[in-house]
Amino acid sequence: MGNEGPTKEELEKMSPEQIKEYEEQNCLFCHIVKGKVTSQKVYEDDVCIGILDINPSNPGHVLIIPKKHYTIMPMIKEEEYSKIIITAKKISTAILRAVKAEGINMFIANGQVAGQKSPHTMIHLIPRREGDHITAFDLPKNKIEPEDQDKLRRLIRRKMNELFGIEEKEEKTGTRSPSETNTTKPEPQKNNSPEDKKKADLDRISKIFKG
């Protein structure tokens, strides 16, 4: 690859392995893992490293970085992921004692829209104390109608069952199935597949939470 990087055409022709290699060659955190870029390392084992964040939210803010290049957490296999989590627990305990913190937030961002800043996934461990003026982890609390909550519950539960190979009889509320239930706005019935209805429902429910 030249200094300007591959063109869009070149990228499209690359195999997944080539793309991965390109990503790793240009990944700051892969360079940090390999020691090519300096960092304040506090921990290292065979699957991950722990470094101090150079722009900490609080003193003792540590990043746990898998040694292998993964874009998001769900890509990591269970065995490796479990080791990383156990390490997170170890480091979390150490941070609590080291900086005499009163609490810790663990934070993972999967995807740009979730605040992921780097294509190399990582775990943030952020020490907290009373009056530290960090509001990032104050979770908003929204009201949700029972019907919408139930819709979400069915969708997510069905998917979880699918992911785990769990067979469960589909429940029915009264005489209507979720795709037929109409709450606030009556939608035009013609040519609406269950998939369209589901999308419309999700769009409507998501809008409730906006600002």
């Binding site: 003792g60 982890f137 997510i156 939470f209």
Partner: protein, 190 residues
Amino acid sequence: MACEYCEIIEGKRPAAKVYEDDKVVCILAEKPAAAGHVIVIPKIHKPIFEMLPDDIAAHAFWIANKVSIALFESVKAQGTNIITQNGLPAGQEIPHFSINVIARRQGDGLLFEWLPKKLSQEDMAKVEMQVKQELEKTETTNTMRPATTTEKDQIKGKDSEKQENKEKKEEQEEKDKEESYLIRQLRRMP
């Protein structure tokens, strides 16, 4: 004082469950941050992450990953955040450790961002040393801690007062070894 999450686990309190196994239960948040906010709750009652047995901690986060995938695929999440609130100042309201998995979408109005603090090189070096020292201490005293027999029985739902008292005693012993300042904070919670 009854624990809200323990009541849900024991079936004494209703909740919108989306998954359950012998170690964890996943419910929808009653007052969600977004459309698709799942809480992963270990069945064992521990106030903070650091007190969980290693295998339960790993399993809970593994399930959180699966919930992430489920949110991507079932409620059109474009991203997900996994957030824990360990301790009062971190936003913890229920003294039973849990993991929040939140669906994210473009323009959803959520902002989990913080202002970076500029620390001097000296302060950074000090913190680095302190964390390393604490890690070296734990390397020599504490290795992988799987669930004890007591904890396994509790997970299987054979909960009884005897178990609870035994666990309280174990917790008390752990308290003396673990960060007692943090736990004192948690006990002040109403």
